[in-house]
């Protein structure tokens, strides 16, 4: 039962352009959403999060948008840099519940 879905396994963008990574979820009890970034041979590292009471959270070049009615969130990276190349995991949790991860999207930013 995959409650968090990332339907694009990979994404390639040009340096300086915007990267948009998408995530859908099915569990309406989720009220906190996170994005993690993972480099090869390392564990995932926290990138940015958003509570369900908001529809947008911004941190530097990273912005997460939440559309609760569509059960959809997205991560925007602008401008994209080669160092952003990594696997990005979307995760969600309900209060008191465990974190559920999507399968990840591999982002490649070309110089």
């Amino acid at each position: 039962d995959q409650q968090v879905k990332q339907n694009s396994p990979s994404l390639s963008v040009q340096e300086g352009r915007i990267s948009i990574l998408n995530c859908d979820y099915t569990n309406s009890m989720f009220d906190y959403f996170l994005w993690y970034k993972k480099y090869p041979a390392e564990g995932p590292t926290f990138l940015i999060s958003i509570s369900s009471i908001k529809d947008k959270n911004e941190d530097g070049r990273f912005t997460v948008f939440l559309n609760k009615s569509a059960k959809h969130l997205s991560l925007h990276i602008v401008p994209s840099q080669p160092g952003d190349s990594a696997v990005y995991f979307c995760a969600a949790r309900a209060l008191g519940g465990d974190m559920r991860f999507g399968a990840g999207t591999r982002l490649t930013v070309k110089p």
């Binding site: 564990g43 509570s51 974190m99 999507g102 399968a103």
Partner: protein, 116 residues
Amino acid sequence: EAGVVQSPRYKIIEKKQPVAFWCNPISGHNTLYWYRQNLGQGPELLIRYENEEAVDDSQLPKDRFSAERLKGVDSTLKIQPAELGDSAVYLCASSDLAGGSYNEQFFGPGTRLTVL
């Protein structure tokens, strides 16, 4: 500040052999998690500890997997006997609060297990 430490980083064993993974969480973090990440998938929770108590082990295959967190600090995850399908990356994470808090989880680098 040191991050979550895991060892070994890589392990290759033959099926039916036992294997153990070790995790040292970030100092002061009372919540510890073990995840399994299969190839091409996201991490999936196996067990969560709050201090030395396993508060969620519903996803742990108890016929062959066991875990312990003596003294509420380091933790060990064991598989005995290992099967081919156990090949995966085993991730340990820690946080300083759980349950009603949304505190960030910090992940270790993982142990990549290959069962031949």
